[in-house]
Symmetry: C2
């Protein structure tokens, strides 16, 4: 397998983009990535999208988006793993370049979610859970993550305040990210007093409904070295699944798919988790970030809440988590999220992250998750 680099990254403003269609959102972002890479050639494309069929009535995104990018005939594949669709697209693009099949490969993620009303969007997102059991019994994602949160609080003494502090931290970071959907700080009191969604989770524990896209361009490292930008390599990739239904898990507070995917990615990279300088992880709900940092091994099982409270995961902490603002503040256009995580890590490793720059960042990790952890994709990126 060949060594693979990310030679270009692209994003545009995320939010409720009423005036733009899915194809416009994608093209704007894809052109940003091509511009950043300084290449005018693509050999293949992978697009992550969770449910363009339900959100905008459009499947066959490979054909549509290659066409609208002016890249007719391009081999373009749409891939899906619920909210980990972007991470999966990155992994399949990585395998493609590593295999030698293609040299310059675009990996994009896109979701246009606000064309549906909130009830319809909740149904569409619910298709990431086990519809014949979980969906049939009426539970949706806030409810599923509320079960996880309640169990974590009971078992480990995690507090309501610790959950809230995840959101406060991510908004602090997001306030420095001009492309974020919510680029502003929120107070602890605001989170604790926001409307209850599914006990114990409140509105400000939840990531939002977002329209947006993200794109990166991959190439063999030899090609990357001929370009002008600092070289950022993908040194590890891991992917794992778990029972789709929460009720089938031995321990609903433990994200086994994240643990397995991280183990594989770090083994491929030849690194330990302590070697990693910053993390972009899947904080779809505040409790998710706490479970993720435990599964990644940043802290012992059950200690995630305390670690957040102690500042471990702040930009100036030992393990900075979600310097971009995370899903909570940056937004969560589900298929785009996993790719956007890589965009942030590349900017950080290049030293281009401006006021939210993590000092001395050389190695970064992305963790993208589908459903309640039915699938996870982890990548390790390193500055050359």
């Amino acid at each position: 397998m060949r060594d693979v680099a990310i030679i270009g990254v692209g994003m545009a403003k995320w939010g409720e983009l009423w005036e733009k269609s899915l194809r416009q959102i994608f093209v704007e972002t894809a052109l940003n990535a091509l511009d950043d890479a300084g290449v005018d050639r693509l050999d293949a494309m992978y697009v992550g999208s969770m449910s363009s069929g339900l959100f905008v009535g459009q499947e066959h995104l490979g054909s549509l988006l290659a066409d609208y990018l002016g890249q007719k005939a391009l081999p373009a594949a749409r891939v899906e793993s619920a909210c980990a669709s972007g991470g999966l697209a990155l992994r399949l693009g990585f395998i493609d370049v590593a295999s030698g099949m293609n040299d310059v490969v675009m990996v994009a993620g896109v979701e246009k979610m606000t064309d549906l009303n909130p009830n319809e969007a909740t149904y569409a997102l619910g298709t990431a859970a086990d519809q014949e059991y979980e969906g049939y019994h009426g539970i949706t994602f806030p409810g599923l993550y509320a079960l996880i949160a309640r169990a974590h609080m009971e078992r480990y003494g995690t507090t309501r305040k610790q959950l809230a502090m995840v959101a406060v931290k991510n908004h602090e970071n997001g306030a420095l990210n001009p492309l974020a959907q919510f680029p502003f700080k929120i107070s602890l009191e605001a989170v604790l007093n926001s409307p209850l969604v599914a006990d114990p989770l409140r509105v400000l524990d939840c990531s939002p409904i977002t329209d947006g896209a993200a794109a990166v361009i991959l190439a063999p490292v030899e090609l990357a070295k001929k370009l002008q930008k600092p070289v950022v390599k993908i040194i590890g990739s891991g992917h794992a699944t778990d029972s789709i239904a929460l009720a089938q898990r031995k321990d609903i507070t433990w994200l086994e798919s994240t643990y397995q995917a991280a183990k594989k990615a770090l083994a491929m990279a030849g690194k330990k988790i302590e070697d990693v300088n910053l993390f972009e992880v899947h904080d779809c709900f505040t409790i998710a970030e706490i479970c993720v940092i435990e599964a990644l091994g940043l802290v012992e099982k059950g200690k995630g809440g305390q670690a957040v409270e102690a500042g471990l995961t702040r930009v100036d902490g030992r393990f900075p988590v979600n310097p971009s603002g995370g899903l909570k503040a940056k937004g969560h256009p589900v298929g785009a999220t996993g790719v956007a995580q890589a965009v942030e890590i590349v900017k950080q490793l290049r030293g281009e992250a401006g006021p939210r720059q993590v000092k001395g960042a050389r190695i970064g990790l992305t963790q993208n998750m589908g459903g309640t952890g039915g699938s996870s994709v982890v990548h390790v990126l390193a500055a050359e």
Copy 2:
């Protein structure tokens, strides 16, 4: 890149499977493939499904199906390229094994289409077209292919009878395939007198709505040689897109994506089209098979109808096309079709196709297509 073989194939009866859910249909077929391969280990899985979100309200099939196959933690990816989703899954599985990332990889396709009523299914299938233009103006796939058929008749003198003969031939073949949805012959008169759907296409010009799955298992050729079965290699893979909307094409009777994908696959295989002994192609409508054999170069542009009438594509003709019965008689569970094409070619190359065996078959080709040719995936398979 490593050489890749197909070491196992699986299918079960296709049709209107009211009593089975999507996950049951998949598991039954996947177990058939594991049994055929004689392996008890999988390193990864690719699942092609066009629109499980719209058809059964379930995305995240990688997690769900790995779980129900008893393969928890398996890296499992769902991929989509409309009706070419199965062919795309085969291509991405091929790249994965060729890259050295994984050794034993299942590639499956599945669609459960009959849970929707016909109007809803027509809408779901329409998401393979350009929804903002084609869908918005009310055209569905029978109408789009009718436009192609009418243009082909006007320009090249293709006759109504020649279209019908595609269906008659494919049902002759399908009558010998016990897993087909419609394993019986139909007469020329039956096609010509069947109800009009979209002039000039009639009901018996159209492939049906089907529930079904198909699976193959890939491995490096060195591993395949240690097993008991004849070795069948994937020697070429090609993938291309085209404008998703028919109105954007220079010539609506020409399938440029099929032409491009076949060119790449044959170049990788080091073969000419004349070297290929049999073909499984995408006859979603009778006119499609005529356009496909032209784009593949089996006949000159415009001569497809005449070639069918002359018997060129019969099982005993120079270029046997769709010995399995094709989409028309075997059925068309959209995400499964591309994988089922490979299942048939493997059976033929092993000499296991029974009464529909193509004599002396050594090299076979699959052509799987999304929409009206917005994407095409072509594979060349060869007996060792």
